[in-house]
């Protein structure tokens, strides 16, 4: 952080600092989680390949920008399209066969995730060097910082908040007012009844995976410029997405946002107080605690009885 000369009293600065960075952190959590929550909420498929899709988007976009030399926006759109198609492929060729068997769904999607993430690090096959190292960085939308009396924040972090809010609003409107969104929600509530009303459940699951993967991609494009693209972040994203979904309750937008902001603020405060070491303890501890005390999450209502307890 920049110098804190000619600013307010130090406690005030620290408080605002924590608040702002906590909100940014929370929005990152929310961006990680929306796609996962969307797919699980609608098609009951725990897409453990979510984190892998996140990482893949970053590398595809990087390849388009740096190796193919395409303009920034075009490569973003192309990579989002590709990653949605990947989501559809995952459902169409793999998940469709194991649907309804929870443990197989988890294993299969986690297997795909592992294969993708470790595959990206493969070395020496066909001259492929593997995506390792600090060289893989996505460009920021606009470089620059905003200086306020209390805190200095770069534009990319503000973009994360903006993108997060935009996605939340857009998805809410889409699932509440668009015909397809309504069909998706119908399937989430009662698949058989939706089938009787002429909603094709496989097509809806395909669409939900496509949208969910695109959301993972969007999160990648917004968040990755802050650091470099690495494969390990795939596992991290998955854990955080699950944490947010479990704590907030699946299928509840309000719960997802609130849980994400809570987790974001809590981890920020935690890293100020006790060091980043305790962050994981906090996240995992919260998940376990919430699942035990209130299994449907803070705000989850869907299928509470028959699924969890």
């Amino acid at each position: 952080m920049a110098s804190k000369l000619d600013r307010g009293p130090i406690e005030e600065v620290a408080a605002v600092d924590i608040l702002i960075y906590g909100i940014v952190n929370g929005m990152t959590f929310a961006l990680f989680a929306v796609g996962f929550s969307f797919v699980y909420g609608i098609s009951r498929l725990p897409n453990f390949a979510h984190g892998a899709l996140y990482v893949v988007t970053g590398f595809i976009a990087w390849t388009f920008i740096n190796s193919a030399g395409l303009p920034f926006w075009l490569s973003i759109i192309l990579s989002l399209i590709i990653v949605s198609l990947a989501g559809v492929a995952i459902y169409q060729f793999v998940m469709i066969r194991v649907r309804g068997m929870p443990i197989s769904e988890i294993i299969v999607s986690f297997g795909i995730a592992l294969a993708i993430l470790e595959g990206l690090r493969l070395q020496g096959i066909g001259g492929f060097k593997g995506f390792i190292g600090p060289g893989y960085v996505l460009p920021r939308f606009i470089d620059g910082v905003v200086d306020t009396p209390w805190v200095t924040i770069d534009l990319q972090r503000l973009f994360i908040i903006a993108v997060g809010l935009f996605i939340m609003g857009f998805m809410w409107l889409f699932t509440h007012y668009h015909k397809m969104g309504l069909a998706l929600r119908a399937m989430a509530q009662n698949e058989r009844a939706a089938l009787m009303l002429g909603i094709n459940s496989d097509r809806m699951a395909n669409i939900s995976l496509a949208i969910g993967s695109a959301l993972a991609g969007l999160a990648a494009i917004a968040i990755m410029p802050l650091g470099n693209i690495n494969c390990e972040s795939g596992y991290d994203v998955l854990t955080k997405a699950i944490a947010v979904c479990v704590i907030g309750g699946l299928g509840s937008w309000g719960g997802t946002i609130l849980a994400a902001l809570t987790l974001g603020l809590a981890t920020t405060i935690m890293s100020v107080l006790g060091g980043t070491m305790w962050n994981n303890v906090l996240v995992f501890g919260l998940i376990i605690f919430i699942l035990i005390v209130r299994p449907s999450g803070l705000f989850g209502q869907q299928k509470e009885l028959e699924e969890r307890v």
């Binding site: 294993i107 493969l122 995992f284």
Partner: protein
């Protein structure tokens, strides 16, 4: 226009029908038919350590035995009791740290630490997972999967139990044969013990909890108590594995919480045939050496491994042992429809 359609017809072999009842003991051939697979398993596991070349592969075999125990307990919990528990790493870690800690701090001999770790560890795991028992399906799976990560972070963040360095040295076994035969005998005892258990009254209650816990509740049985029994048995097997690893490798550290211990048993179970008890053991004894063989390939190993896993789930969900049992008991031929 009309495409000729065929289907595979399967018929039980005559000898299978004859050996089903008490009449099996009428001829050596039929007794042999019944005994051969079981004797094959027992003798196979007991002879395998003798014919392996060198210390390295014997160690791999012992590790495979631990994976087999974990796969067995996963299979028992998931297919017989309906609790999908993917926290194998946690159970191994608890067992390993108890045995390692007792030996490291109090210098107890393995003959004492292993039983203490087995039952004490099982008690700890059961008590910690007791509040999660009402959860079902993926939620129980997620909670149990998180436990090893949580413990690992606590140990790291708090600098407990030797933190990153772990506890070393932990006393080993007198010689490698003691270790290797200990694990083999325990694996065999567990297979046959669990099979016997599932045939008893309590086994029927386990199956009832899996299929319809409401019905079990309605007949006045406390399902949480039943689940606790099952969990205790399964975690005891895992904790034994952990204690064994700690003494076998002379080290108790964070590697005991490795995700391998959670994932590999599931892979073994799926490959070997879920619900068959002996299948997961078979799967573990195939997968563990295989992954050692592929170690030189680096990252490609994990990719191949996942491909095998996904392939088995998609195209051969019954697993190897069910397939083999079908070949053993039935003959099949194509018939026109």
């Amino acid at each position: 226009m009309a495409k000729e359609e065929r289907r595979k017809e399967r018929l039980d072999r005559g000898i299978k029908a004859r050996t089903d009842g008490l009449y099996a003991i009428q001829s050596w051939r039929e007794v042999g038919y019944l005994v051969a697979p079981r004797a094959g398993l027992i003798l196979g596991l007991l002879i395998l350590p003798l014919i392996l070349p060198g210390l390295y592969w014997q160690r791999v075999l012992a590790l495979a035995g631990v994976y087999a125990l974990l796969a067995l307990s996963f299979d028992f919990l998931a297919e017989r009791v309906g609790l999908v528990c993917i926290g194998g790493a946690f159970v191994i870690g608890v067992g390993g740290y108890i045995a390692g800690g007792l030996n490291y701090y109090f210098a107890l001999s393995p003959a004492l630490t292993i039983p203490i770790a087995t039952f004490g560890g099982a008690l700890i795991c059961t008590l910690l997972w007791l509040p999660c028992l009402p959860l079902r399906g993926i939620y129980f799976a997620v909670v149990t999967f998180m436990f090893p990560f949580l413990t690992q972070s606590i140990i790291l963040a708090g600098g407990l139990l030797g933190s990153t360095e772990g506890l070393s040295p932990v006393a080993g076994f007198p010689n490698i044969w003691v270790g290797i035969y200990l694990i083999m005998v325990i694996v065999l005892l567990s297979i046959f013990g669990l099979r016997r258990l599932c045939g008893e009254d309590i086994g029927i209650v386990f199956a009832g909890v899996k299929d319809n816990d409401q019905a079990v509740l309605a007949s006045g049985i406390n399902i949480t108590r039943v689940k606790v029994y099952a969990l205790f048995i399964a975690t005891a097997m895992g904790c034994f594995g952990g204690a064994f690893i700690a003494h076998f490798s002379g080290f108790a550290g964070l590697s005991l919480f490795a995700v391998d211990f959670s994932i590999m048993p599931i892979a073994a179970c799926i490959m070997g045939g879920p619900g068959t008890m002996a299948g997961p053991v078979l799967g573990a004894f195939i997968l563990a050496p295989l992954s050692e063989l592929l170690r030189g390939l680096g990252q490609l190993r994990v990719v191949l491994y996942c491909a095998v896993l996904v392939g088995f789930i998609l195209f051969k969900p019954e697993g190897l042992l069910n397939w083999a049992a079908r070949k053993y008991h039935q003959f099949e031929h194509w018939v026109k429809v």
